[in-house]
Symmetry: C2
DNA sequence: TAGATTGTTAATCGATTAACAATC
DNA sequence: TAGATTGTTAATCGATTAACAATC
């Protein structure tokens, strides 16, 4: 690990990737930071700075080759690798995520769901089996798991996360309404707090009424 | 509208609200910025600065009254008001959001879903009716709508958003894999890009392997 | 009153933007 | 070669942290 790249930059990378994907679909072959900047409504300076954290992907006088840059950012984001995901909590959200087949396109493969609800025993979602939580240890000892998506009530989240860390899982995509605090430095947590997002929206709505 | 408060601050407000809710549940009556800072793993300075954007909620020598601060932040976030939400796209994600009854606790009430799939005609989710997209205009003319949650494919998102803006809807909770760009300054968009979030997680996973 | 802790100003730090020399 | 556009350094801006006087 060389110089650490700021999370502000990382957060923008998927957005670049998305816009480059659109350009690719449109058949655009090359683009300058300037043209990209007016599409994305950011400064050209920021685009060049951001990219140069990872290397020089452009060419003076030419700009950036869309396909090349797209692939390079994909690699930076780890999309050239497969990521096996298990979903903990097979409720509505867990099922919704599982049904989002689009993720597979980027290399994210959901391999199993787990739940405590006996009614879900022997069921499946888009062909992906739902197991009982008791089977977690056995499953993880047989199958590699890269990411656990937590879509369970906040009360269960912390202790379940710890249980998963003990099983060797080091990455969490957390939808539970709580900040996971596994005090283990090589555990990575990405929080998706939907209610936080909704509250932010709500703030911006009522703000204009004041 | 006085001095604009930075989005960096706004983004943190729901988190404060969440922690204060937890303290409330634990029966804690008052808390100092210092104690809160060690719980939330932010600086006490930041907490005081953030809160003072909205007014002085504390008392020297005492700290903050948890219940009072909780309620005040709730008001700042607009949670003292009701927000009627329609969900556009009654697929997995739309249904998952609709089933998240928790949002109602904060004043967010889902009143209807809309979809183009005729198979969903006359169905309902948690008692909330699913209508056909053709009925959108009629519905919006009869019922007040504060927020449209967009859980539809990215191809349809922009033109559907424009249609909703024309119907007087000014706030969007966008789950489509695209940046909405309704060039109308009083339209508020809150994006939830789940794949961006997953890619950020992925970046942090592969980063450690390099 | 003395101690604690806020509200707020000032200092620092980091991120964004501007500028331009390097180079295709 | 001339024009275009990057990569990168320097300047600016904004956000975070530190410090402390005000005050409960």
């Amino acid at each position: 690990m060389e110089k650490e790249i700021s999370q502000a930059v990382i957060r923008r990378m998927p957005r670049y990737y998305r816009y480059l994907g659109e350009l690719l679909d449109e058949g655009v072959e090359r683009i300058s930071s300037n043209d990209l900047s007016s599409r994305m409504l950011v400064t050209a300076s920021q685009i060049r700075q951001d990219l140069n954290n990872f290397g020089g992907f452009g060419q003076q006088g030419y700009g950036y080759n869309v396909k090349f840059l797209y692939d390079e950012i994909g690699k930076i984001l780890g999309l050239d690798q497969k990521h096996k995901i298990i979903v903990i909590g097979a409720g509505n959200l867990g099922q919704a995520i599982t049904n989002y087949a689009t993720f597979e396109k980027w290399g994210f493969i959901i391999t199993a769901l787990f739940d405590i609800n006996p009614a879900l025993q022997n069921t499946s979602v888009r062909g992906i089996p739902v197991y009982m939580m008791e089977e977690l240890e056995a499953y993880c000892s047989r199958q590699p798991v890269d990411i656990a998506a937590l879509t369970l009530p906040k009360e269960q989240a912390p202790k379940t996360a710890r249980r998963l860390v003990d099983l060797g899982i080091h990455a969490f995509w957390n939808f539970a309404h709580v900040d996971l605090d596994v005090d283990d430095r090589d555990v990575i947590v990405e929080n998706v707090h939907l209610s936080d997002s909704l509250m932010q929206l709500s703030y911006n709505i009522v703000k204009n009424r004041r």
